[in-house]
Subunit: 340 residues, 2 copies
């Protein structure tokens, strides 16, 4: 292995500037006042040697790495991509770097991350769980600073969420108001044993809205499945069509699912919104550009990312405060897929 030239260290800078290593450190970190002329000398030496402090050494000393991890189920989905984009921006503004983890391939990984986050030498973790429940016994005193995003049945840790029941209610009410009589659901099913919290809550809101409009939920037009992607949505739509149970609207639990479903509907010669109304969740950028554009539930992503990062940073500062939950407001965005 060939290495580049040896990096300059505080010692080298100190020697060149004619001061002690600690003074260099004081100048660089700025935590201690240094007389202006000394400071100048040091900065000149730093410049000349192109000195950059060694973060490993620094974090070994002070126990912080300045790195947070973001763990998402599937990085390739539009929702994840957008979330990532925001979180990275906010984190950088707060002087933190972001390390990426992907969990969908191995659900076990979520547990590993929470229970063994320390291995990765990160200050904290933002996790969008799909499997994580209260049932995981994580020794409280060993829990790394964690913020969960998305609806979660977990009350030991900080979390950022939207009111999924309410959102599910609003979407369904909207579809019914636009004339739908039989609203199919892609992503949630009555009695699905391994359903995620998100799925359960959206379905609850959906059911409540149906009943408020005098309609009894019909499990025959509810399809639960794990893979909330376009491919998954397409498969679920095929499944729904094959059940031949009749429906005039589809409430998809993510935009990606909706895209997959719309594609299948159109392949089968069904028109959206002519024959079937379709709605999504998340308001990813594509929703606006689809044909027809997709009615969906939007949330303030920037606010969401800020809440997540800020919760995490305060948690890193103080591991003792009780867990908090921040709800980010959502909004139904009505577009072409439910407008005829």
């Amino acid at each position: 292995m060939t290495r580049g030239p040896r990096r300059a260290t505080v010692k080298d800078v100190a020697a060149l500037a004619g001061v002690s290593p600690k003074t260099v450190s004081n100048v660089v970190t700025g935590t201690v006042f240094v007389r202006p002329d000394t400071r100048e000398k040091v900065l000149a030496a730093v410049e000349e040697l192109r000195f950059v402090p060694n973060l490993s050494a620094r974090s070994l000393r002070n126990g912080r790495t300045g790195v947070i991890a973001l763990a998402l189920p599937d990085l390739a989905t539009a929702f994840s991509a957008d979330m990532l984009h925001r979180v990275v921006q906010v984190a950088h503004e707060r002087g933190m770097a972001v390390l990426i983890e992907e969990t969908a391939a191995e659900p076990q990984r979520e547990y590993d991350l929470v229970s063994r986050a320390r291995e990765h030498q990160i200050d904290g973790l933002i996790l969008n769980p799909i499997r994580l429940k209260d049932s995981i016994v994580v020794h409280d005193d060993q829990l790394p600073p964690v913020v969960l995003i998305g609806e979660v049945e977990q009350h030991k840790v900080d979390r950022v969420l939207i009111d999924s029941r309410q959102a599910g209610y609003e979407v369904t009410a909207h579809l019914l108001e636009r004339g739908a009589k039989r609203v199919a659901v892609l992503g949630g099913e009555t009695g699905a044993t391994d359903a995620t919290a998100t799925s359960i809550q959206r379905l609850e809101g959906h059911h409540r809205a149906l009943r408020d409009h005098g309609i009894e939920p019909d499990p025959a037009i509810e399809v639960y499945f794990q893979e909330w992607s376009m491919v998954g949505g397409a498969a679920a739509a095929e499944e729904l069509l094959s059940r031949d149970a009749g429906f005039d609207a589809i409430m998809a639990f993510t935009d990606s699912i909706a895209f997959g479903a719309m594609h299948v509907l159109q392949e089968h010669g069904l028109s959206v919104p002519g024959d079937v109304l379709v709605s999504g969740f998340d308001d990813v950028e594509h929703a606006r550009f689809m044909n027809p554009s997709l009615t969906t539930v939007a949330l303030d992503r920037r606010a969401f990312a800020e809440a997540a990062v800020d919760l995490l940073m305060t948690r890193i500062e103080d591991r003792a405060t009780p867990p908090r939950a921040v709800a980010v407001p959502h909004e139904l965005v009505i577009r072409g897929s439910t407008t005829r």
Copy 2:
């Protein structure tokens, strides 16, 4: 600031197992043979104390962090998201963690990353540059291990690319074969002064194909712009329409651009592929699910990511070998947007 309980260190494990710290280290890293019974004792102690080695300390000692950075222009685009997804997977398989950077907001950041990567304490950097040219004088001996992805006019560093001239040629030839007479270009323009290498190469291929078919390129139907996203593509399509120069096909330089353009065309009452043929580049997942589905240039993303990570890892091992360029094969995928 409240901290959790102190982490166990090699020392603690050593004390519990009744051996020296170095032996614990030997067991954990597995680099030195340890007698089976000793090994057992140590592993038991590791288990009991839930010992996890401190990576900061380890990397301080051996100069490696096991972290590579991936810097992309805009994390929210489908192409970036997919690239990220693959790179993270491959990197994990190789035992590396991935740190994320986003560069579009501040082009200056690309230079910072290349010239000051050391600050971030990463072993290497995979960069998808938009601005980086040969002109940047980076002192060779200070260059961190870098792999550039995408077409780049940079010959001092490793890179992974596709043959963009050839791909541009193939797409144009396809559009012409499908009956197009006036192929508009979104993403490249003759004489654009700040054009990226990608843009220039795709445009060159396009021009060559036109001339091979006896058509002279017309700058009036070439639109160059910086933001290669759906929003950018939509704006470019509006610009193209407003020029009123006549066109019966659009060759977009990314799928996102194509999506934005298709949306605008359809808003203006133009049918794809009826009135206008449309093609993209990248074959992001949405291309398959659009209506109509999008003809585009696919590349083996997995192979692309593997090439990038592997180039980087060998570069980290040996900084002396001359720069290499790996070309990943591409393939024209013909779909609904050019099939009438």
